[in-house]
Structures are given as C-alpha cells and as structure tokens.
C-alpha cells in the first residue's frame, strides 16, 4: 500500500504546559512494495512518525494516507481495519508477550482480527520457520525462552497477520551481531516473498544501505533528506551536521580516495567493489 504524509504536525500533550511538538510539517511518500529506512537521531520523531502509520496517534494538522485509508485529526472508525493491514513491531517487542503458551500468543492477533484460526494454526510451523524458531516451542510458555527467542515469538505474532505494510521500530536493538543479521535477512526475505511494503526504523547506516531502496533522514521532527541510500550517503557533511554517521564502506572508500588518489564510483560502494579497486591499484602500481 502507498503511504503518503501531507503536511503532518503532531504535538504531544497538546494544550497543556507540557506541550511538545514532535513533528513539523512532515510530507513524504513511500511507494507500495518499497523497502524504506527511516534514520535519525534519538528524539528526531521517528517513533512518533511510525505511530501514525496504523492510527495509534492522529495528526493534529495535515493528513496521512495509507492505501485507501485516510487519517486526519478527525475521528476515524476504520482504524481497526487499518491495523489489520499494517503490522507494527515495536522496540523490544518481547515486552508485549502475555499468554500461557507461545502458540496462544502468536494467535492473539489473528483472533482479534477475526481470521480463520484453524487455517492460521496450520500455518504456524511456516511462520516459526520464517523467524527461525523450532516447532516444539509452540506449547512452551514464552517466559521460559531466552530474550532473543522471545523477540522472535513477538515478531511471529505480527507477521502471522500477513500485513501489507510491515513497520519495524529498531527490531535489532540489543541483539548480538549474528542475531542482528539473521533478523534483517528475515525481514528482507519477507519483503521480497510477500511483496509487502516495509518501513524500518534504524540507527545502523549499514542496514539502511544494505536493504533499503529509499532512506528518510529525520532531524528535529522534520524530514532532513530523502532519497536512495547511495545518493544520500554521499552527503557526508550534511549527515555529520545532524549527528549521523555514514556507513563504514563509504568511510573506507573516502579514505582510499584521499590517500591513493583513485576514485571509487558509487556502484563499487561495497566490500567487493572496494577490494577490486585496491587490487587494480596494486596491480597497476606493480606494472609501472
């Protein structure tokens, strides 16, 4: 589903002495089927932004359009329907587990949205396989599992709904490096196999570069930059100014360019490309 923000303002604790504006005049477009990464400093409005995507909060000004749903400051009665189509995995999703068994917890969403439970139950093995859990956890209590496994259960509870838009708020926070790359591969796989629109909030520029086809950079409640990751990460100075780093490969390519005087073009901005440039350089140097 296409997602469009049109001049969205959001203010926390509106009309109280604690008023705090989190989003300023936000406008952007996320095409259907794309993989979009949202990056930005802590407090830049990322989490506020994603809560608009399934109607948890409503814009105070402006309009959010998700597929055929429109959210504005007025009351909307289709919110539950919208939530069926937009799955959100929050930060530390393992905190939302509550059922006696993993199976019941995963089926909590399908039950609420009125899915065919028998059919969903048959799909459980598939879903567990997707998130990398063995089938025998189904009848165990989620609270017996390790932190990483709990998170997988929580994620399974969202993807079992087969949403057309999957929103991920720093799904890899607190995981070890292996767990992180597994988790991201899972989301990338789901994105490709289900054609679902994926929105990933992250602090890791590497992840944005590796998986996203569009990056939105947030700063102080505004869209600072938007574009393809490779184009965007060239603007090193501007990213630095708002306290963000560029991915290590770009850092490395810049360093090689400065030291050796060779140019690394953009399609070579990955590990293979850089090593190829180095190999060529060394070989050329050996010949002369």
């Amino acid at each position: 589903m296409d997602i469009t923000f049109k001049e969205v303002d959001y203010i926390y604790q509106y009309n109280t002495p604690f008023e705090h504006q989190a989003l300023h005049n936000l406008s952007f477009h996320i095409p259907s089927g794309s993989f979009t990464a949202i990056i930005g400093h802590t407090g830049s409005g990322k989490s506020t932004l994603i809560q608009h995507l399934n109607g948890l909060i409503k814009p105070i000004q402006g309009e959010v359009t998700i597929g055929e749903f429109t959210l504005s400051s007025e009351k909307n009665h289709q919110v539950k329907d919208l939530r069926k189509h937009v799955g959100v995995v929050f930060q530390y999703p393992e905190h939302q587990l509550f059922e006696e068994t993993v199976k019941k917890d995963i089926l909590f969403g399908p039950k609420n949205f009125g899915f065919d439970l028998d059919r969903k139950e048959d799909e459980l093995a598939d879903v567990l396989n997707n998130v990398g859990l063995p089938v025998d956890v189904l009848d165990r209590s989620p609270f017996e599992l390790s932190g990483g496994q709990m998170r997988r259960v929580a994620i399974a509870g969202v993807i079992v709904l087969e949403p057309s838009v999957l929103v991920l708020d720093e799904p890899t926070a607190g995981l070890d490096p292996l767990g992180r790359s597994q988790m991201l591969k899972l989301f990338s796989h789901l994105h490709q196999s289900r054609q679902q629109t994926t929105v990933l909030v992250t602090h890791h520029m590497e992840d944005a570069l590796a998986y996203a086809d569009q990056v939105i950079v947030m700063n102080q409640g505004k869209v600072e930059m938007i574009g393809e990751p490779k184009e965007l990460f060239k603007k090193k100075e501007r990213l630095r100014d708002i306290g963000l780093d560029i991915p290590e490969v770009f850092e490395c390519a810049n360093y090689i360019e400065n030291k050796l005087g060779v140019s690394v073009n953009e399609c070579q901005s990955n590990m293979e490309g850089i090593s190829q440039v180095l190999v060529d350089f060394v070989k050329a140097g050996a010949r002369s």
Binding site: T16, L56, K80, H95, Q96, L97, N112, V158
Partner: protein
Amino acid sequence: MNQSLIIGQYVPGESFIHRLDPRLKILIVFIFVLVIFSAETWMSFMTLFTLAIGSAIISRISVSYILKGLKPVWFIIALTFILHIFLTREGNILYSFWGVNLYDQALIQGANISARLFLLILMTTLLTLTTTPISITDAVEALLKPLNKLRFPVHELALMMSISLRFIPTLMQEMDKISKAQASRGLDLTTGPIKERVKAIIPLLIPLFISAFKRAEDLALAMEARGYRGGEGRTKLRELTFQKVDLLAAIVFIGIMIVFWLTRT
C-alpha cells in the same frame, strides 16, 4: 490516557507557592482537610474557597489546566450531589414529581458535601502540582521524625513513598507502550460488551506486572551495589529550611483559620 488526570503531577514553576517549604505546605493542607469537615455556614465556606482559589491563582498554574485536570473528579462530585438529592429525607418539601419529593435539606446537604469534596481535591492537587515528589517525601520524613523514637521505620516509609512516586510515570509510559503494542495486534479496549472489555485488560496487566517485577529486582540490585544500608547516619543533599516567606505564609494561614473559626457556626 495520562492527559486527562493531573492528580499527582508536578508543574515546574517559580511562584510563591512553589517556593514554600514543603513541610509547611503539607501541614497547611493537612489542617485544611481536617477543617473542611467542620464548615457549616455560608461564610465559612467562603473563607475556605478564598484560601483555595487564592492559592491556585498565586501558583500561576493556568486555571483551565487545573479544571481540565479535575475532569474525572467532576463526575464524582456530581454523583454525590445527585445521590444526596434523592436519598436525604429531611426538612421541607420544595417540589415533588412522580412521587419523588425534593427536600430543601437535601439541596443544602448535597451542596455542602460537593463543596467539601471540591475543596479537598483542589487543595491536595495544588500541593502535588507545586511540589516535586522528592520534596514531598523529604517533608513527610521530616514531619514523621518524632515517631522514630517509637521505633517506627520513618526512613523506610519515606523511601517506599519516593520509590512508588518515582515509578508512577515510568509505569504509565510502560502501560502506554504495551497498550499501543496490543492495539496494533487488534486488541480493542473501547468498544464491545463490558465482559469483553474487562477481559481485554489482561494482555495489558500481565506484561506490566512482569516489567514492574523486573524493575524492582534491578533497583534492589543497583541499590545494594551502591552500598545502600538504610537511614542510619545518612546525610541529605537538599536540607529543608524554614524562611521568612514561610513564616509569612504561616501567619496568613493562621489568620484565615481564625476567621474560619469565628464564622464556623
């Protein structure tokens, strides 16, 4: 959810009321609350209202904010008023319809009780609005100190109080987060029959309790790691001092109380 209820919240400010010694503020509120229930006459209520509304104005917290924050309380006040009108059967009948009599005493009693409730809540809310939770606990500890001689665990009580006050906002945030996560999984708290709605609280409460227990454990560990060992010989970062403004406030309050005493009956 936490936008409609302001009881227990602190609004930072620099007003006269904000700067008063918290011990004095607690004493004043305590006496005020006791005294409310002996008010009978029109004049005595006027005195109390003057004091309460006067302090609210001096505190420079916007009136609309206070009134809006008391929204849930209006309901209770209205309910007690209505109950009194129907259940009191004294005095002269003012009006009667469908066999239900309206007594003049009922009106007076209802108004009395509602006014008392309103004053009670206004003053206590004002106390928490203008005093940080830390100062309140410090003040409670200082005021209860004499009980130490009776082996009453004053410091532990104050510590328990400050910990619970400290964690109210944290738990509120946690609750907000969990309810959003469950709402995203289709949990519906606002529609449907009552039975279903009560059931819908379970997915919120269980995660909340689990995280609260985890937090308590972490806090206990952290306190132990930093060598906490109770109140004996502990010094304070902020000592409470009784200043000239406090004396002034105390004199004004005593003055008002004398006026109240004279007009009470």
